[in-house]
């Protein structure tokens, strides 16, 4: 009787162990290699934040859960690299085909003074109606920046209205559990971005 109990216990123990090992293999981000940037060894949790979506609704951490997200930090008074990157993300979205539905592309403006959610939405949706446009008060942007590892700074321009914004250029990867998974860094190549993102949505999590 006690022998049988022992063997059942051993069996259960084995099952749990196998489950843990399988889980590690499946979940381990290092099993995915990307060419366009780096994945963190372990996804990092993100603190709660509250921003504004262009649809008039709040945009919070909950909006990052359940799917992969690619966040691009920029502003609309940036006529060179920002529209080029958004146009490239549009090409990436197209290249992803069906997998595009598993990824949210988010344009995050760090210039809330000039980028109202509404105007930001119109600007962003010119590139793709599926892209999300998000901004918010500086205090909230700073919280998110500290969590996601992006920085920005206001720099005086030729006139008070034509001030400039320095900002991080990397694309930020968020996994479906709303954790910081890694970064994609410029110069961006559309094909490489497509194959990296396909790997992420298909092979892990």
């Amino acid at each position: 009787m006690s022998n049988r109990l022992l063997s059942w216990g051993l069996l259960a123990g084995f099952a749990v162990l196998i489950g843990i090992v399988a889980g590690l293999v499946v979940l381990r981000p290092a099993s995915v290699q990307i060419q366009s940037g780096t994945l963190l060894q372990q996804a990092r949790p993100i603190a709660d934040f509250s921003l504004n979506g262009s649809d008039g609704k709040p945009f919070t951490k909950a909006d990052l859960a359940g799917h992969w997200s690619v966040i691009y930090v920029g502003y609309t008074h940036c006529p060179d690299v920002c529209p080029t990157t958004l146009a490239q993300l549009k090409a990436v979205e197209k290249g992803l085909g069906e997998d595009a539905g598993k990824i949210r592309f988010i344009f995050l403006s760090i210039d809330p003074e000039r980028d109202t959610p509404e105007a930001l939405g119109q600007y962003t949706h010119y590139f793709s109606p599926d892209f999300l446009a998000v901004t918010g008060p500086n205090a909230q942007l700073d919280v998110l920046g500290a969590n996601l590892g992006f920085v920005y700074a206001k720099v005086p321009g030729a006139t008070p209205q034509s001030y400039l914004m320095d900002h991080s250029s990397a694309l930020i990867l968020i996994n479906p559990r709303a954790g910081l998974a890694g970064y994609l860094t410029p110069p961006f190549k559309t094909d490489a971005l497509v194959s990296d993102l396909k790997q992420l949505v298909e092979k892990s999590w």
Binding site: P79, C82, T84, A87, A119, A158, S162, S168, S169
Partner: protein
């Protein structure tokens, strides 16, 4: 009789388009274009290749255009993972030299367009060098990702 017809035609054409200024001596503006941007964009970029064909250096000290509230010259740079733009105090073109206004480098900031621009549209921009100025026609084209 003493004035050839072609010269007369040139004179008339010149009078019709009469600019109130002389061209910047030696300045040529090639491949001038504006990437198409969302209609709500309040800034457009201007790219071109500026060539100084003359024997004297040129200094472009201002740029403007009737279609824009103002125009600035900017330098873009990517340093330590940061995207930066800085205003430039004019542009220097050495004799027989050139300067590229190109993506990822220098560009015109065409601010507060007076109307939206679509691919195929054009806009005239003036490059000032002291009391002279050269007009250049910028064509709007679809941006290439």
């Amino acid at each position: 009789m003493s004035v050839p017809l072609s010269a007369l035609a040139l004179l008339l054409a010149g009078a019709a388009a009469a600019p109130a200024f002389a061209d910047c001596k030696g300045l040529k503006v090639d491949n001038a274009w504006i990437p198409e941007a969302p209609p709500v964009a309040s800034v457009l970029a201007g790219f071109a290749s500026l060539v100084n064909d003359g024997d004297q250096p040129l200094h472009i000290d201002a740029v403007d255009g009737a279609d824009f509230g103002s125009v600035e010259l900017h330098q873009m740079s990517m340093e330590g993972g940061m995207m930066q733009m800085r205003p430039l105090q004019g542009l220097d073109l050495p004799a027989h030299g050139n300067v590229a206004l190109a993506e990822g480098g220098k560009h015109l900031m065409l601010m507060n367009p007076k109307h939206p621009f679509k691919a195929g549209d054009a806009s005239v921009v003036l490059f000032h060098c002291g009391k002279q100025a050269t007009a250049a026609r910028f064509t709007v084209k679809a941006a290439q990702p």
